[in-house]
């Protein structure tokens, strides 16, 4: 969850019971869905709200044979507003079903917003921990943002209907921004970390709480587990904390620092999402051994959260595939926001790199419509069309970087998006240019080493996800081609491009409404 001083939540007048507020939200969403006429950019196989606004994925969990994805949700407009929890479920990570809204704000513990959180399964019930958000009347010296945030819990026996149990952790003194709890069990105890921002120094931090009873937390007993070394960073959002690698004391913190200064090609999004790795045992400090690294190089990747796959072994991840304060053209059609595909994480202990690959279940997205992309030498200042109308497709192709001589070569999606090798800056570039939507600019990474540039690309109606050389780098970005401007072409400028070929699949529409 993220909110800015300039984006203060509107006044919210709760009425009725929680159940009534949920039903009202669902009625509003259904009515808006029925009246929406343009689905130009609505995803075929990515999760997006029925209508209204979506941001952080929350409470990701596998529970009773279903994957549950909740998300920050404003049902009443395509702008951020009083935060609810939207809900989707899937048996296989491929086919998804919209469920009714799970949480609506307006109770004593969460009057102005049900902010982000996490889910745990305990004694065959799902417990979701989330931040209850309050907008206060006026700012004070010790509370310049005029908010109050505390951690709350709700419980469900079926994963669909939730009973709120109220606040369990109140903010320590000196913390106003205090949100996005992550809860896990370790060594017979329950642990919670929250992102925080202290009032005196405006530094992003990670606060740790512990308890033996999942519903009773002693919030007077807490620890600052981590603190930013970068003084520009004023807040750490959406912390996810888990064991990585072969030793249980090696912990990876996946989080969203706010306030990082852009530097050359790095940290170019409004806010970042990345990770640090260090050593922690309960009761002790967390010793960071690997400095902050961005997890995804694209324009639109934030609030990533991880969960365990049904096999209990693979750690999976989904993120919000948008960026704060970025123009969102879908608002004109009554909705905004979508999530990335689920990805599998793997960690290289030698290099400290966390990689993402598409979840193996995603082969289930493929239709029988499979095409071989032939080996192709694209001549100087030429292009070859491989798809006339690239809507929902997966392609897995490679370029021979040794034999390609072009100054610029790669893929064009319509006239507005290009994924290309830039021989000038020696970078792989994802550029989008939609000036009519005020979206323009590129994200890039260093050229991968080696002979082949392997590009595993997922394109949906308004997003592109690129997995480079088996996850050495990934790009997640929204793209907004006009109808009729979706040709997919391989191109070469000032030289030749040697495309080794590959495979392409049409993908199914897999989200039911």
């Amino acid at each position: 969850m993220s909110s800015q001083a300039q984006q203060r939540a509107p006044a919210y007048a709760p009425r009725g019971t929680h159940a009534e507020r949920l039903a009202a939200a669902d009625r509003e969403a259904a009515a808006r869905w029925d009246s929406s006429t343009n689905c130009t950019w609505y995803p075929d196989y990515h999760l997006a709200p029925h209508t209204g606004w979506m941001n952080d994925p929350t409470g990701l969990v596998h529970f009773r044979d279903h994957y549950h994805v909740f998300y920050q949700y404003h049902p009443y407009s395509a702008e951020w507003g009083p935060m609810h929890w939207g809900h989707l479920t899937s048996e296989d990570l491929v086919h998804w079903q919209h469920e009714k809204a799970a949480l609506a704000p307006g109770d004593a513990c969460d009057r102005d917003g049900c902010f982000s959180g996490t889910a745990v399964v305990h004694e065959d019930r799902m417990y979701v921990f989330y931040t209850g958000h309050f907008v206060l009347e006026a700012a004070t010296p010790s509370n310049p943002d005029a908010i109050f945030e505390q951690q709350c819990v709700a419980v469900s026996s079926d994963g669909v209907n939730f009973e709120k149990l109220g606040a369990v952790v109140r903010p320590p003194p000196g913390y106003v921004h205090f949100r996005d709890p992550k809860v896990w069990q370790q060594d017979g105890r329950w642990w919670m970390v929250c992102g925080a921002r202290d009032v005196t120094k405006d530094l992003g931090q990670l606060l740790l709480f512990a308890t033996e009873d999942l519903l009773k937390w002693d919030d007077t007993n807490w620890q600052v587990l981590g603190m930013t070394e970068d003084k520009n960073v004023f807040m750490w959002e959406c912390p996810d904390y888990f064991t990585i690698g072969s030793r249980e004391d090696m912990k990876l913190l996946l989080f969203c620092p706010q306030g990082k200064k852009a530097s050359e090609y790095n940290y170019r999004n409004r806010f970042q999402n990345g990770y640090t790795v260090g050593q922690w045992t309960p009761g002790g400090p967390w010793r960071v051994q690997r400095e902050f690294r961005e997890l995804d190089r694209g324009h639109d990747f934030y609030a990533a959260q991880t969960f365990l796959a049904a096999d209990g072994q693979r750690r999976m991840l989904m993120a919000w595939c948008n960026m704060w304060e970025s123009p969102m053209p879908t608002k004109q059609y009554g909705w905004s926001g979508c999530l990335t595909l689920p990805r599998e994480l793997s960690y290289n202990e030698a290099t400290g790199q966390l990689r993402m690959l598409p979840a193996r279940e995603l082969v289930g997205l493929r239709t029988p419509e499979m095409m071989i992309v032939p080996t192709l030498l694209v001549e100087n200042n030429n292009d070859a069309q491989i798809l006339a109308n690239c809507t929902a497709y997966e392609l897995d192709i490679a370029f021979n970087m040794e034999t390609s001589t072009a100054e610029k070569y790669g893929l064009w999606l319509g006239s507005g998006a290009e994924l290309y090798v830039d021989a000038q800056s020696k970078r792989l570039v994802l550029n989008r240019h939609y000036p009519q939507h005020m979206l323009s600019g590129y994200r890039s990474c260093e050229m991968p080493t080696g002979l082949l540039l392997q590009l595993h690309v997922f394109i949906d109606r308004s997003s592109i996800e690129v997995f480079v050389n088996n996850g050495e780098a990934t790009f997640s970005s929204r793209v907004f081609p006009d109808e009729g401007d979706r040709a997919l072409r391989v191109f070469s400028v000032n030289g030749t491009a040697d495309m080794v070929g590959g495979t392409m699949w049409k993908l199914k529409a897999t989200v039911r409404h």
Partner: protein
Amino acid sequence: MSHEQRIEEANNAVLAIRKSVDKEFYPHYHIAPYARSMSAPCGMIYFKGLYHVFYQHQPFAEESGPMHWGHSTSENMIHWRHHPIALAPGEDWDRDGCFCGSSVAYDDRLYVFYTGHHWLTDIADDSQIYQVQCLAISENGFNFEKRGIVVKPPAGFSHFRDPYVWFQDGRWWMVCGGRDSKDQGQLLLYSTDDLEDWDDSTFMILSKSEDRNVYMWEHPCFFPLQRHQMLMFSPQGMQPEDYMFRNRYQTGLLMGLWRPNATFSVTSAFKKLDLGHDFYCAQTFLTRDGRRVFIGWLDMWDTNMPTKQHHWTGMLSLPRVLLVDEATGRIRTPPIKELESIRGNHQYLPRQTVRDNSQVRLLFDCTSYEVRVLFDMEKSTAEKYGLWLGRGLEIYVDEQSKRLVVNRHYPNYGISGYRSYALPAQALLLVHAYFDMSSVEVFVNEGEAVLSTRIYPARKDRTLSLFAANGTAHITRGDIWALNQSVMQ
């Protein structure tokens, strides 16, 4: 067929196809061929009250064919008139083309030195050629009498072209670009007392490429500027490196020292004259008042040229002044000040901030315009900010690579890519852009750097806007002028 008859035949071919020329991308204030193709400017000179610009011209096709000399004149370097073709190939010595050359005025007559080109086989094979330097003379600058070969190539030089002739220390001098049997680009020097009689058995190699990749030096101009001796030329074979030398061929300068009978002692690194996509074969001349001015071909070999289907290709750059700062040796190439005479309606841009992720429309239909914007780089926070022309052209400060970028994207024509310039250290950045129907010339900080690029916006896609992406852009001030047509259409 006589020379006059061949000229008439060529002119008739141009006039015939002229009726089919599509003017969508035809320039309003840049020199372009009446029809068919144009490449290198040559023989440029101020003579009898007129600036003469000749250019390599193919009257019978847009692509390949024997080179003629096309011709334009102006009284002021701004208003240009088309003239009949000046030189047509077909004599023994220039059977397969009248290639580039230069002019000198002497005894009230115009002497044109040019390269006569021969294919040694029946097909055009660049490794089977014979090139000689030839002379043609005109009393009036329009009708030329060919005088034949004046300089034959030395042994081992098949590529031997683009003579540049000047008068110094009581003698005439000629340099030519050459490519020897080792495929090394070099500059050959000849000298004579008699402008019409050259002893080509006596020559010296004035300079050679130090870059082994460079196999040919084209279009040499060799002249003094303040206390420097300048070589303006177009090397072929430079390998691209990072952002540099990305065009197929380059055009630039070497500075050094030279005295007659000595070799050219180079004192500076090669400096490109233009960092854009489309600039080649620059040639220089002196104005009536003694300014060193140059014009280049505003296109590039081996690139897609959408105007072929419009029955014309090629155009020339604006005339630019070559200036060298005496103290620092820094080169600047601003446009000639005469361009102010074609300014029409003026629009002043007051100090303003372009808000985060927004654009400010400046012109609804930016056809022929001059736009000057002073950006405050210190106050601007945007990741990317500058000017958009339609969807296909952006001129912007790129905070990521710290460069000023000219990016064009016309995928329907197979044209895409950027050229860029490392941002200077100072706080203010003056972007001075000349837009014509299919070109933009961007002068940065009064010609400290120039980027020239052909652009092909659709008719309804010529909106010009200021923009700022992911942050704000601060404009200290700006001016926009509509530019009146000054080239005969």
